[in-house]
């Protein structure tokens, strides 16, 4: 088999990987802001929930989380009488998003705390509500600071998607393993997909750099 014949199935797998990355990134971003802002909340219930979420998902291994959602959650469902048998895609996106969201939450929290106190005091002196202070003063200044760590997390997330091949989802790593089993041509297949992941990571990182430029655009005016 010529190596070019590997490409159609690999590209199919790459498309699954791209979709998984995008979905879990969106979920992760939402969770990052929710839990990152929640951890700074004066409400102890919101704060406690955020801390527990962050600690559990940062403190355990992603593969453990993935296996738990895919293999163990259905048994929890049986106990309480609800069908929680998640299809692999849902379990994969959920595990990836929950995991990266916990790491992102710490980035959001750190960036918000790095906003100079004088800014918050000024907002208070100008009689801004808490919500206005967050949206109009703290977040616009914190967002550009979040982008470099977010770029690292996005690439981390892309790499982590390879793990879903272990719950039989047909992503890039899964296709590679299939072709390898069929042809025994390990060197070619794995070299190709290493470079495919590398290319996707470069595209993703430059996308986040574009985002950084966009969220920092107010700086140019200042």
């Amino acid at each position: 088999m010529n190596w070019t014949e590997y490409l159609p199935p690999l590209l199919e797998g790459a498309w699954v990987t791209v979709q998984l990355t995008v979905y879990s990134m969106v979920l992760g971003a939402l969770l990052s802001f929710a839990a990152g802002i929640g951890k700074l909340s004066p409400n102890w219930a919101i704060k406690g929930l955020s801390v527990v979420y962050i600690e559990i998902f940062r403190g355990t291994s992603l593969l453990v989380q993935l296996f738990w959602l895919y293999f163990a959650l259905p048994l929890v469902g049986d106990l309480i009488g609800i069908n929680l048998r998640l299809p692999p895609v849902i379990a994969g996106v959920l595990a990836l998003g929950l995991n990266i969201g916990a790491y992102g939450a710490e980035v959001v929290r750190g960036s918000l705390q790095a906003v100079p106190v004088a800014q918050l005091e000024t907002a208070r002196a100008l009689n801004f509500t808490r919500r206005q202070t967050l949206w109009r003063v703290a977040l616009p200044q914190a967002l550009p600071e979040m982008m470099p760590p977010f770029s690292n997390l996005a690439v981390q997330n892309l790499k982590d998607t390879a793990l879903v091949s272990l719950i039989s989802l047909g992503d890039l790593a899964f296709r590679a393993e299939q072709i390898r089993n069929f042809t025994q041509d390990s060197v070619t297949v794995y070299t190709i997909i290493l470079f495919m992941y590398f290319g996707m990571a470069l595209v993703l990182a430059s996308f986040v750099r574009g985002l950084e430029f966009w969220v920092s655009r107010w700086r140019a005016r200042a």
Binding site: S61, F67, S186, Y190, I193
Partner: protein, 231 residues
């Protein structure tokens, strides 16, 4: 039955949990061994990459930069499969555990090499200038001025990567390493009860990472920020 221990089924989840704990703990030992071995390789290989990036030759710097970026941007799972399937084709046959530790070390060397660089660059330039004004040699500046101030920044950062390595060890289960998650999966496959073993693995991990993070924080606080004392 696993590792000579028998699991207890049909007497409730608690009895089952208690009966599989020794098996999981044996798996945890392998997890820790893999962490230590992978971390050791990452620390050494990262140092080599960091040194090559300071090379006088531009080609060496560029090639090293590319290799580090490549290793950092590709999944550990794929690197592991690559090593596992490709090394034997070149006549290098390693036990699964060694291949796994090597993959962990290779992946994380990309991160540790950055740690060394960042640690050295974080030393204020005034220090180097002062050493120069005092007529210290290049070598002496590095060993007696730069390193003592860089090491307290480097060690805690390396510690954090050790914790990350520990969380990536379950990936080695795909090449048949019997670490804790693989043990739990085998128990689940045999007893059809995945809930108890996987939840226990999660809890064990949580305890382990909380302890490890606490130790790293202690280490960070214990190291003098102004630099290690010389003699």
């Amino acid at each position: 039955m696993l590792f000579g221990y028998e699991w207890v089924t049909g007497q409730g989840d608690l009895a089952f949990a208690a009966s599989i704990l020794p098996m999981l703990l044996l798996g945890l030992v392998v997890t820790i061994q893999a962490t230590v071995a992978g971390f050791f390789i990452a620390v050494i290989l990262g140092l080599i990459f960091a040194a090559l990036r300071q090379s006088r030759f531009r080609v060496v710097r560029y090639v090293t930069g590319f290799v580090v970026e490549f290793l950092r941007d590709t999944p550990l799972l794929v690197q592991l499969f690559f090593l596992y399937y490709v090394l034997p084709e070149f006549g290098i046959v390693l036990p699964a555990f060694m291949t796994g530790a090597l993959a962990l070390g290779v992946q994380y060397s990309a991160y540790t090499s950055q740690v060394y660089r960042a640690g050295i660059e974080a030393v204020p330039p005034g220090q180097r200038e002062a050493a120069r004004a005092l007529d210290l040699t290049e070598r002496r500046t590095f060993t007696h001025v730069i390193l003592p101030q860089a090491i307290p920044r480097i060690i805690p950062a390396l510690g954090n990567y050790a914790v990350s390595i520990m969380k990536d060890v379950p990936i080695l289960s795909v090449v048949t390493v019997l670490e804790v998650l693989n043990v739990a999966k085998i128990i689940g496959d045999q007893t059809f009860n995945y809930l108890v073993p996987f939840t226990m693995v999660g809890a064990l991990y949580l305890v382990l990472t909380l302890i490890a993070s606490y130790l790293v924080r202690l280490l960070d606080r214990a190291l003098p920020k102004t630099g290690l004392p010389l003699r």
